[in-house]
């Protein structure tokens, strides 16, 4: 990231807010044992669904566990799943999309058919298969979610590469004799990057939600490990009588999504060489 881009980023207040939020999340995750007022897995059944009060600042869940502590520890799972899954999807999908878009011909056709098969395959079954093979848990959930995102990223990147391939400056670079990999790295990738950034941040939010669905089905994070997604899923049964059980972790999801998105937007605005004065 050139000094130019860094300066642009620094001037964008929303981007800085995003950076602050994400940094805050990382901090909370790292310092969870120090920040959490209570043991996130300690049950106290008679305090079930306690409303927020002095003892439980955000209330208690259906087992009487402190929601604030669980939300704090849940940051770890959210960050892990969100960033790792996004990384898997972006790297795998990005590579596939670049190769397909750039190479064209039968290679493109093969990759795209493979992607189609993956997309046509029922995701639930894929998740069950992964969990059956690898066992349940955070890391394997991350893999399952990452695999989920790969085809979409691949297709997005391929579309961008297709468009970029025909632009004048790429043609010019080719005419000047730039070879395959160099072309991709120097000319195509930087221009694909902004879209990729935007999509990666969108994906991170989705990752938390996909993890919620998986955890609810018993295929994701294993209780009693706190996961925001699982907390929202199980809290929905009591939405009408104890809304705080689902809403508090839901708010945590929103805050982290906001942070990642603002950061992503800021990065995109900073990195795009053509976006001056936006």
């Amino acid at each position: 990231m050139s000094a130019d881009a860094a300066r642009r980023f620094g001037r964008n207040r929303l981007a800085l807010l995003g950076l602050a939020l994400v940094a805050g999340l990382v901090l909370v995750a790292a310092a969870a044992p120090l920040l959490a007022p209570q043991d996130p897995v300690k049950q106290s059944l008679f305090e079930k669904r306690a409303r927020p009060d002095a003892k439980h600042l955000l209330g208690a869940d259906e087992f009487g566990r402190d929601i604030l502590s669980r939300v704090i520890y849940g940051t770890r799972v959210a960050l892990l799943v969100g960033t790792l899954a996004a990384a898997i999807a972006v790297v795998a999908g990005g590579a596939l999309g670049c190769v397909a878009g750039f190479a064209g011909g039968w290679l493109d056709a093969t990759i795209m058919r493979g992607i189609e098969i993956l997309l046509a395959f029922p995701y639930l079954l894929l998740a069950i298969a992964i969990v059956s093979a690898l066992g349940p848990g955070v890391v394997n959930t991350t893999i399952a979610v990452g695999v989920w995102g790969t085809p979409t990223v691949a297709r997005m990147v391929r579309a961008s590469v297709l468009a970029l391939k025909e632009t004048e400056y790429v043609r010019a670079a080719r005419a000047l004799g730039a070879g395959g990999p160099a072309l991709v790295l120097r000319h195509i990738l930087p221009n694909v990057l902004p879209t990729l950034c935007v999509y990666a941040t969108l994906f991170m939010a989705n990752a938390v939600l996909v993890e919620a669905a998986l955890s609810f089905l018993g295929l994701g994070v294993q209780p009693p490990t706190p996961s925001w997604g699982l907390m929202v899923s199980t809290g929905r049964d009591v939405l009408l009588v104890a809304p705080h059980v689902a809403t508090m972790p839901g708010l945590a999801i929103v805050v982290s999504v906001l942070g990642f998105n603002l950061l992503g937007d800021g990065l995109r605005d900073a990195l795009d060489p053509r976006l001056r004065g936006a």
């Binding site: 059944l45 087992f63 069950i128 066992g135 349940p136 294993q222 209780p223 009693p224 049964d237 939405l239």
Partner: protein
């Protein structure tokens, strides 16, 4: 004047008495005929033919279309239904006299041939009915004359009568089955108070009053069964009046519904026991002291009060009350919640607290593996988590492996089972202890042949259950089962948690409805709407 006054007084007294009697004789509200009852439940049936569908969503519907020879009422007592009387002729033969003048919905007459057809289809058909295994040694039926039929078993079978009262043993119209072929699943024909009208998959099933029913005609014109998978949505439908009756209502909202005069909550003790099973052959659970310690570690009252919140009853044993052969195992007295006792028992078995609180013996930690699924039984996931925490409080570390039901079920049925603990439920569908005690606790009923997932083995219990199965003397059977349950109580291989309650929430205008303890029955023949 005195005589006149006396006569007047008597007249007044008589008048008053007449008025009083008149007031007593007038019913509070007259039963109204007509109307449509809308019922919402979580899932659509797979089939409306008991031959193919043995789960509740189908049974709720076809239990109103089909009838069996014998009926089980809400007190779990047997009554004549399509059979008017029966006689045990020999240990393997029961003769039934059938009710005359009964017709199927398609107009064909009900007779002994129909009974034989139904049983042959279920037991010897290709493929046999899904419930055939529950029928045990039931072999078939023989026609004696039009209104007399013999039901035959291949060996003496004590629970024979209750097996014939199963919701799956409803008599079907032979003509309709032959004519419809596989489509009979989508349009069953029986003798019940309601007849089938329409089934739109995943949307609704519609039934209509059968005008030529042999008994009291149903007050309702129509019944509509709708599907709403989300609990919250079902409760909202009840509130808005979109639904008159909700099956599987939300336990948390029950208290509010009970207080609200616009609604009514109907409940009955169910037949299902949900428990944490222990693998009795897997160390350290092969030591009865360790198993007892686990039982003492669980605070059942807290679970019942806070997780089930009045939507279930504490388990009284391995069977549900009302089941023929039930004995109250007094588990609250035998294994009261007592952490001290739990730890003492563990110490007796050689387990002592390690540095982090987890029990240790010879350098090994007391870690148990646990297989559980979520959502198969009400609150099964929550109970697993709660008991896991309670075990940790006495130094037992339980590692739960969560699976979705299909995977878990495969493991439960498998052999060997490598887990120490498992969360499971069992319903005594035939209302007879045999259908629980035999497959669950007989030492030869190991999976996949049987369901003795705990690998329990006690030769005396084996003998008792075998004898009770073959005896037709119901008094003797009860005695045998009582003794078996006494033995089980001393070396428990289950931590029974709760006994289901069948709960249905309705609008107050729904009258004449009683919840049946057997979760498959949904008796609508006497229901009427006050509006």
């Amino acid at each position: 004047m005195k005589r006149g006054g006396a006569r007047l007084a008597t007249l007044f007294a008589l008048l008053a008495a007449a008025l009083a009697l008149g007031a007593l004789a007038t019913p509070a509200a007259a039963q109204k005929r007509g109307g449509t009852l809308t019922i919402v439940r979580p899932t659509d049936p797979v089939s409306l033919d008991p031959h193919y569908e043995t789960t509740a969503p189908g049974a709720w519907v076809y239990s109103n279309i089909l009838e069996s020879l014998i009926a089980i009422d809400e007190k779990l007592a047997l009554h004549p239904k399509l059979a008017t009387s029966w006689d045990v002729i020999s240990p393997t033969r029961v003769r039934f006299k059938l009710r005359p003048g009964v017709r199927f919905h398609d107009g064909t007459p009900f007779d002994a041939a129909a009974v034989k057809f139904t049983l042959d289809r279920a037991l010897k058909g290709t493929p046999p009915g899904r419930w055939a295994s529950l029928a045990g040694p039931l072999a078939g039926a023989e026609v004696v004359d039009d209104l007399t039929v013999d039901v035959v078993t291949s060996e003496p079978f004590g629970p024979i009568l209750r097996s014939l009262a199963l919701v799956y043993a409803g008599i079907v119209s032979p003509t309709a089955v032959v004519k419809a072929g596989p489509d009979f699943s989508r349009a069953p024909v029986g003798t019940g108070p309601f007849k089938f009208v329409e089934w739109k998959t995943n949307t609704h099933v519609i039934l209509e009053r059968f005008a030529d029913y042999w008994g009291d005609k149903a007050p309702l014109d129509r019944v509509v069964f709708r599907v709403l998978p989300e609990e919250g949505a079902r409760m909202i439908a009840l509130q808005t009046g979109d639904a008159d009756m909700v099956l599987f209502p939300s336990p948390i909202q029950l208290a509010a519904l009970r207080r609200d005069p616009k609604f009514a909550v109907h409940e009955a003790t169910g037949l299902r026991v949900v428990f944490v099973g222990m693998h009795a052959k897997q160390p350290p659970l092969d030591d009865v002291r360790v198993r007892s310690a686990l039982l003492h570690a669980v605070d059942l009252k807290a679970i019942l009060a806070n997780i089930l919140e009045g939507a279930a009853l504490p388990a009284r044993g391995v069977l549900a009350p009302g089941v023929f052969g039930f004995k109250d195992m007094r588990l609250d007295q035998l294994y009261p919640f007592d952490r001290g006792r739990a730890k003492a028992l563990l110490a007796q078995a050689g387990w002592n607290p390690g540095p982090d609180g987890v029990m240790q013996k010879g350098g090994q930690r007391l870690t148990l593996t646990w297989l559980a699924a979520r959502g198969r039984y009400p609150k099964d996931g929550e109970i697993t988590e709660a008991v896991q925490a309670m075990l940790r409080d006495v130094g037992v570390e339980a590692k739960v492996e969560w699976r979705e039901w299909a995977s878990a079920f495969t493991q439960f049925r498998g052999d060997p089972l490598s887990f120490h603990l498992f969360t499971l439920g069992w319903v005594t569908s035939s209302t007879d202890a045999d259908s629980s005690l035999y497959p669950l606790f007989h030492s030869r009923q190991l999976p996949p042949g049987g369901w003795n997932t705990s690998r329990y083995a006690n030769a005396r219990v084996d003998t008792l259950v075998e004898q009770a199965r073959r005896s037709l003397n119901q008094g003797e059977r009860e005695r045998l089962y009582g003794e078996a349950q006494d033995l089980l109580a001393k070396e428990m291989v289950w931590i029974p948690i709760y006994n289901t309650m069948e709960i249905v929430a309705t609008r107050a205008s729904v009258k004449g409805f009683g919840v049946h303890p057997v979760e498959y029955f949904l008796p609508l023949g006497k229901v009427w709407l006050d509006r």
